[in-house]
């Protein structure tokens, strides 16, 4: 067992040595693989971030009911009772127009602008927490609530989140397609590298076979080389993605400050990073395996 380990390690060392000896060519290969993988990985990281934003902002869906400006206290009470009795309503919160103005002043730093207003332009509002959570039922409820007397406008707060979610679904599919295509490219790059190696080492392969090398012994260095090249490409991709996210974070920070919010792009999670490395390792191995199967005619 220990013996076999030592042998595998020495093959691995030889593969790495060969890769370093190949110099610029080897580096370019790794760079190509890295860039190819960094595109879907980077898009995936961005999607994950947007997704996080959606979850954070949408939380539980709410329906805002903005009342007509001429709604009196009586109207508001009647509406409150109606809402409380509604079976699809889980909870209600009343936001008086003055209160809303105060909140607006505090949250967006537009004190000057608001201070310049002659009168409060905001209406009274109810914030309704609905019981159903699927988009369709929410939409029906919203329509129903909009019909209530003195309700000027009923707005589903998380409508945009649902639209974004649909958009994200589209984005994820695009990432998947891109990842599949570029994985094929990675396999092709490895396939070709290994093909060239087999050609240049034809003599060694022939002699080894004549003096008793098993198929496994002959295949092994090529498979290790492919897997290592894939792994290094994966590391390169990870570095590209992480560096890009860090670079983007600075201007994004400035941008989000303008909107008085704090939004930072998170790097790839540990699990995602490991998946990326494992995936690139496997693809390299697969490319090498296909090449060996095709060109070694064992």
């Amino acid at each position: 067992m220990r013996h076999a380990m030592i042998q595998h390690l020495s093959v691995l060392r030889a593969a790495l040595r060969r890769m370093f000896a190949s110099g610029l060519g080897g580096l370019l290969n790794i760079l190509v693989i890295g860039i190819a993988l960094s595109l879907p990985a980077g898009m995936y990281a961005l999607l994950q971030n947007v997704q996080g934003l959606v979850v954070q902002l949408s939380g539980t869906p709410q329906i805002s009911l903005f009342l007509a400006m001429d709604a009196k206290a009586d109207d508001i009470d009647a509406l409150r009772q109606q809402l409380a009795a509604h079976s699809a309503v889980a909870g209600i919160e009343f936001v008086a127009r003055n209160q809303a103005l105060e909140q607006l002043k505090q949250s967006t730093g537009m004190t000057d602008v608001i201070g310049g207003l002659e009168k409060n332009p905001l209406p009274d509002a109810f914030i309704v927490s609905p019981r159903p959570s699927n988009a369709q039922a929410l939409d029906i409820l919203r329509g129903e609530l909009a019909q209530l007397p003195k309700v000027e406008l009923a707005q589903l707060d998380s409508a945009w989140a649902y639209k974004l979610e649909a958009l994200l679904k589209f984005g994820r599919l695009a990432v998947l397609i891109l990842a599949s295509l570029l994985s094929l490219a990675l396999i092709a790059v490895t396939f070709n590298t290994i093909r060239l190696q087999i050609l240049t080492q034809r003599d060694e392969i022939e002699v080894s076979r004549l003096i008793g090398a098993t198929d496994g012994f002959i295949r092994r260095p090529f498979l290790y080389f492919g897997a290592m090249q894939g792994l290094l490409g994966g590391i390169m991709a990870w570095l590209i993605v992480t560096a890009s996210l860090l670079l983007l974070n600075h201007p994004l920070g400035e941008l989000s400050q303008l909107y008085a919010s704090q939004f930072v792009l998170l790097p790839l999670s540990l699990g995602d990073s490991l998946s990326l490395l494992l995936f690139s390792f496997y693809l390299g191995w697969l490319g090498a395996w296909l090449s060996v199967a095709r060109h070694l005619s064992l």
């Binding site: 003599d203 002699v207 080894s208 003096i211 008793g212 098993t214």
Partner: protein, 217 residues
């Protein structure tokens, strides 16, 4: 140790290299295989190592019919054989030492043991001082000796040599034959193909004479 029984070998295209060859070589025996070029000497050696397969008849090596050996078993047969190729088949991308190391790496010896054995083999053929040289810098005779070192480093029971003195001058050829005799003395079975008269003058060694694919009486 090596036993041929009515072995026929026909190459694609119809050329008949061996026509019903039968012989036995006992364990520890040293045998010369003679004949003009094209007589079938190389083919015969290739059949022993299962580099070629017979069309009919049986080739037994160590009581194993190598003619029908499965691909997966071939490596293990060849590890028991030391083969000295007519065209040397040295690897020019590595040092003399690493050339000799290759069979040991293939068999999975650990590094220290391999290095020790490789140096012993190089010492045996008088190339120890040149272990760091690349084969391209060796003379023809030295390349031949390197090929021998690589063939014996595994300590095989059978040594096959295809024209080992092929284009060497007489002094070198004698030197090589002396090396072979020393293996014979320690019990290695040797089958050496040659058409070199200066070597054959050396009597006392059994000969198998091939002529146009048939064994001469």
């Amino acid at each position: 140790m090596i036993s041929f029984n009515q072995v026929h070998k026909r190459y694609p295209g119809g050329y008949e290299a061996l026509k019903g060859v039968s012989f036995d070589i006992a364990e520890g025996e040293m045998v010369f295989l003679t004949g003009h070029s094209g007589a079938g000497k190389s083919t015969l050696l290739k059949l022993v190592a299962a580099i070629e397969r017979p069309n009919s008849g049986s080739v037994l090596v160590n009581n194993q019919n190598v003619g029908v050996l499965k691909g997966g078993a071939l490596p293990y047969l060849r590890r028991n054989l030391g083969i000295i190729f007519q065209d040397h088949k040295l690897l020019f991308d590595r040092s003399v030492f690493d050339n000799v190391l290759l069979p040991l790496q293939i068999c999975g010896f650990d590094h220290r043991e391999s290095a020790k054995r490789a140096r012993a083999a190089l010492d045996k053929v008088g190339l120890l001082k040149r272990e760091k040289t690349h084969p391209i810098a060796l003379s023809g005779g030295e390349q031949q000796r390197l090929c021998i070192a690589r063939a014996i480093v595994n300590r095989p029971a059978i040594l096959l040599a295809d024209e080992p003195t092929g284009n060497l001058d007489a002094a070198y050829a004698q030197e090589i034959m002396a090396i072979f005799k020393s293996f014979h003395q320690v019990g290695v079975t040797l089958l050496i193909s040659t058409h070199d008269e200066s070597v054959l003058r050396d009597s006392g060694v059994r000969r198998l004479a091939l002529k146009e694919g048939e064994l001469q009486p």
